[in-house]
């Protein structure tokens, strides 16, 4: 019973891996506690977004990922 957490762009470098698994169901506090602290700190930035099951989550704190969901952590995209 797991949620796949995917690290995009520079976040993958911070973790040293592209993804990890966390137990389902997964809410916002469980996500922050389960990922490396350096990434958890990045997630508090309003410009770092979270997608769940293929959709960007409007309110990160309301995250509710269930078994089989993929949660993607999306840092700000690159400029020109």
């Amino acid at each position: 019973m797991a949620v796949r957490v995917v690290f995009l762009g520079p976040l993958a470098d911070l973790v040293g891996a592209d993804e990890m698994e966390l137990p389902a169901p997964l809410d916002w506090p469980a996500l922050l506690a389960g990922i490396p602290p350096a990434v958890a700190e990045q997630l508090t930035n309003a410009r770092v977004h979270v997608a769940c099951a293929g959709r960007v989550v409007a309110d990160k704190a309301a995250l509710r990922a269930v078994d089989g969901d993929e949660v993607a952590l999306l840092p700000p995209v690159s400029g020109g």
Partner: protein, 147 residues
Amino acid sequence: MRDIRLLTQMFIPGQLIGPFAQANPGLGAVCTFVGEVRGEAYVEALELTHYEPLTLAGMHDLADRALGRFNLMGLLMVHRIGVLVAGEPIVCVSAAAAHRRDAIDAVDFCMDHLKSAAWFWKRERRSDGWHWIEPRAQDHTDLKRWD
């Protein structure tokens, strides 16, 4: 004609634009933008990563907005992912319309939103390794023009 694609291999813009213009008979105006990897002496290669479940859907959503906002006959939006070298095209947006204002503004709108709101991350390889490219302030200014 609507043609929205992510490409993993090098493409030649003219080979997309010619057929696109021909597929929109009766048009009066075609505006095309092509972005290429700039030839900076210290950049050996550029890598574009994306988050697949969002990227193509995001491009289609942007196309919907452009088609809703401007009076277009056709819209082509192609973006590269993967590793590119200097001179390779990264992005090509082409809009066909009856009138030039719609064609030019649609391309401008798509480029501002593609570059600043789509889910692409870039890093460049220099002699000392890979470096992520930060968001630019100019992109945010550009986006505000459409609010």
